[in-house]
Structures are given as structure tokens and as C-alpha cells.
Point group: C2
Chain length 305, copies 2
């Protein structure tokens, strides 16, 4: 089974703190690295946490508040300076395309590598990437500017071979792949052995839902239901719910409430206001609602399984 | 006399290294802080070196290569988030104005404080700021895109009072300020005491010349002649003079040669290629031509006196 994990590069909202960088994460699926959001300094965090920037081929930007994208032009420029040739696909709000172009033009830079821009709008959930092993959907969020979350969902995995029955029916090697995909097996005498006798059910597909930035929004629940790991912003503790509502953010308890309603396996909180030094009170508050909650920490990798 | 010094925030060219950030400096003159260039991460370096960002009221950007300005939009946004109200004056290439505007618009941000944009073009040296105690001139540099250096020159200082002759002639306190500005003194009997008997010559005016990025360019020499401190880029050692010429940069020896020809008091080298770990060979090379040479080091403050 492919490795599936997320590494947090920055967990601070709006203003970085000495211990927390601005929003950015690296999602790893097998050999592939996807970058999600890219606040100022993301390229320095990638280097600090020894993540090979050259392996990132896709970038997803949730919205155009600076703490989520001001680092992108620097990363794209560094790739150019490092003589990257592989294309980069960028999934982002439409206005970002001209912002990047304008800065490349001002610096007289024509990147060595293709930048393929995929405008993502926030109105309704859409399939934005159909990757051989994974589908990526946009998730409409509720914020002060158009904002989308992202749902990364593994495609249904093949069924698992049952080694004992394979031996018993003496199935030849070249027939195995068809069994994984649900086909029955017909032996040399013409007898049909049903697939269910030869295989075990597929392992469950894993999924990662990234929801930042957003106010409390129950219409997210059906879209992320059953996710393996939900990252949900928790800018404030619940005593600041008034600020959260005003600014289009969520509290720790609201994030936990969404996780509970969506029946996710685990919840990862992030996008913390710079006002908090110690985040444990925030964590405890959320755990009161949804026990399987974790705090995002810069440089930490969270398995999705 | 006012404090006059420069603190290096970043000394790396193009790509940051673990020990060297991207181009940015803080010039301190008395209570005023000017920011010169602002590569990505400058706001983090300011915090790291405990420089109060709220005291910066003027920003000078030499050119629109990313390593000199990608950090500006983040700093301006942070000021907005910190509820700054004081205006900021930005002296920069004209195209920067729209780049900043576009990013503020995309994020739906109207800064709380006025941003006063002063377009600076690179054709000829100009007085770009006439400050009560200092004049700032643009310096045309020779690079791949339009680039200006900056000369910060203290205005002529008042003459110094000679305490002994003040006592001798019994000059009252209210007449002292006029003496500083070169006036003669007329005593109660109508007798005129010449200024030169009551004062000592002004201390020499100090100046800081910032020259990054630039190829070797002797037409700079008369513009920066006699500067107290010259910051000159030295991207490469002299064995890479071919790269320097191709890329519009200077070698250590070329920088020292300009310092020698301009008869400056001290030379500060910076904008080092990420290829160099140890910079001492580069320093030694420059000192062979101009002895009073120093290396720019992130977080170090260099007095200008």
C-alpha cells in the first residue's frame, strides 16, 4: 500500500510566531508530493524539514489571503534558479495566475519549466484532479474571500488475493491481476470459480480533507464524511467565538463538532492565532467534543491510515 | 550626533542558505529606521534580530528581482494586521506599485495605513528624498533589469560650540543655536565676536552607499566618492568573473576596486552566491585591493562613522 501522510510546514494563522510558520503542508502519496498552501517562508520550511522541493509537482492554494500564498512566487523562482525542467500544476483561485505572471514579467524571468495553471472556483465541490490513484475535489468553504478546501481521496484499491484459495484452485500467475479487479476465474475445465472465493475485500480507501480557512459550516459534513484524517482550522478557542464569526474562522469546539458530525477517523487542528503560546487548552477543549484530535505542529508528519 | 548604522538582515544572493537570508538591510539614523530591499522572509529576520518593525517608515527597493522584494507584500500585510496607522513611504521601480495593489485587491485588503509610493527610475542619479537631516539619492546601477542603488548622505552638520570661548565671552544660552549655524555674536556693548572664535568646525557629514545588484561600473565612482561606508555586492570570487559579467554581478576584486577608486572609508561586501560556505577567501581577495573591507553577516550592525 502506498505511503499516505501529511507533513505540516506551518501552523500559524496570519502572523508567524517563533515556533509556527505560515500555512503550508506537504501531502505525500507514494512517490508523489503535493504542496497545500504556501505562506511566506514555505521554501525555507521545506529546506529546514529536509523535504526535497524537486519532488513537488502539484500545488494547491486554498485562497488569496497572503498567509496562504505569498511564498509561492519565491518557491517558483527558486525552482527556476535550480534549473527545474519538470512541469508544475497549480490549482488555485483564478486571480493568482496574473499575480504570478506580473511578478515574473517584472523580474524579466521566463521560467525554465512549464507552469500549468488550473483555476479553481469556490462555488460547488468539483473533481479538480483525476490522478491514476487519487481523486482531488474542491470543497467550498465559508470565509471572507472565495476559499476552497481540498479532499484527497484514494481511488478504490484492488481486492486482496487470498493465498490459500489461490493454491487450492491452482490459479496461474497470469490470472491474478484480473482477480484483484473483481473478475471470476474460469479453470482449464471451464468451471467458474466466483471471485469472492479467491479474494478478500479491498482495504478501505483513505482520504485527507483540508479545510482552511473557514467559519463553522455544516454543509461540509456530507462532503468529508468518513475521512481518514480531517485537517480543520481552529484559529481561536471557543471563548473567542465572536471573533471567529466576524473573521470567518472557526473555534476549536466548532472544528471538533464538524469532525464528530462527519464521523472522521482523526482530526488535526491548525491555523492557530498568534495570541496562543500554549495550545493544550485549545486541544483539551476540542477533545471534549471529539476525542481523536491532534494539534498540527511544524515539521511533524501525520500518517493517513 | 545621531546614531548612524546599518544592520544586515540577509546577505545571500538569489537563494537563501541556512546561514544567510535574502537581501535586506535596516539603516538606522537617530530614531529613524529605513528598510533597504526586502527579500522573502525579511519580516522573520526583523523579528529574529529584535528590530521593531513599527519604527520602519520608509522602504527602498533597488530592483524587481524576487530576492530583493518578494518579502515586501508580507511585511505590508503584517503591518496591516498589527493595526499600523502611520504612513509608509516606498521608493521603488514603478512596476512594483501594481504588483502590490493587485495582491491587496485579491485578498480583499485595504491597508489601515497610507502607502505612499514614489516611483524611482534608474536612468540618472536623482535626489529622491529630502529629509530634514539627510538626503537620499538614487544611483544608476548596471544589472539585467533596471536597478538603482541608494546614497544616504547626512546634511551638513552644525558647527560645534567651543565651551572655553563661550565662557570667556560670556555668551548667553539663547544665542548658542545661532552660533552653531555659523552666525557671529554681538555682545551687550555692540562688539562683534566672529563665529570662528566661538565654534569649532562641523564634524564631517557621514554617508552610506548601497550598491546591489550591479556589474562593475566605474561611472559609480564619482557618485559615491568619499562615502563613509560603501556596501557593494560581491556575488562571486574573481575566478568567476565570466559568470559575473554574464549575470550583471561583480566579483570581490571588482567591488574592492570601486571602493579604492572612490576613496571610501570602509567597504562592506554582500550578496554572496549560495555556492560559498566559507567567505574568507572572498574577503582576502578583496583586501588585497582594498584593506578596509568587511563581510556582511546576517544580524550584524555596522556603524557608519
Amino acid at each position: 500500500m502506498n505511503t499516505f501522510s501529511v507533513t505540516v510546514l506551518g501552523s500559524s494563522a496570519a502572523i508567524a510566531t517563533p515556533g509556527r510558520g505560515l500555512s503550508s503542508q506537504v501531502l505525500r502519496y507514494g512517490p508523489e508530493l503535493f504542496l497545500i498552501d504556501c505562506g511566506e517562508g514555505t521554501q525555507f520550511q521545506l529546506r529546514r524539514f529536509k523535504i526535497s522541493v524537486g519532488h513537488i509537482n502539484r500545488v494547491f492554494i486554498s485562497h488569496l489571503h497572503g498567509d496562504h500564498f505569498f511564498g509561492l512566487i519565491g518557491l517558483l523562482s527558486t525552482w527556476h534558479l535550480l534549473r527545474r525542467v519538470k512541469a508544475v500544476d497549480i490549482y488555485a483561485p483564478p486571480a493568482l495566475e496574473d499575480i504570478l505572471k506580473m511578478q515574473f514579467e517584472a523580474s524579466g524571468t521566463v521560467p525554465n519549466y512549464p507552469i500549468i495553471f488550473h483555476p479553481v472556483t469556490a462555488e460547488s465541490p468539483r473533481l479538480i484532479l483525476d490522478h491514476p490513484q487519487m481523486e482531488v475535489f474542491s470543497l467550498p468553504l465559508t470565509h471572507r474571500v472565495p476559499t476552497t478546501g481540498f479532499l484527497f481521496r484514494e481511488k478504490p484499491l484492488p481486492r486482496r488475493i487470498n493465498p490459500e484459495s489461490i493454491d487450492f484452485y491452482n490459479v496461474p500467475y497470469h490470472s491474478i491481476e484480473a482477480l484483484r479487479h473483481g473478475k471470476d476465474y474460469t479453470d482449464a475445465t471451464g468451471r467458474v470459480i466466483p471471485n469472492a472465493e479467491l479474494t478478500l475485500p479491498s482495504p478501505a480507501s483513505r482520504s485527507y480533507a483540508y479545510c482552511s480557512d473557514t467559519a463553522y459550516n455544516e454543509s461540509l459534513v456530507p462532503l468529508i464524511a468518513g475521512s481518514t484524517l480531517l485537517y480543520h482550522e481552529a484559529t481561536f478557542m471557543h471563548d473567542r467565538i465572536k471573533s471567529a464569526i466576524e473573521k470567518g474562522h472557526s473555534t476549536s469546539i466548532q472544528a471538533a463538532d464538524i469532525a464528530e458530525k462527519a464521523g472522521v477517523k482523526q482530526l488535526l487542528l491548525g491555523h492557530f492565532s498568534a495570541r496562543y503560546d500554549d495550545l493544550h487548552p485549545l486541544l483539551n477543549e476540542a477533545r471534549g467534543v471529539f476525542e481523536r484530535t491532534m494539534l498540527a505542529e511544524d515539521g511533524t508528519t501525520y500518517p493517513i491510515e
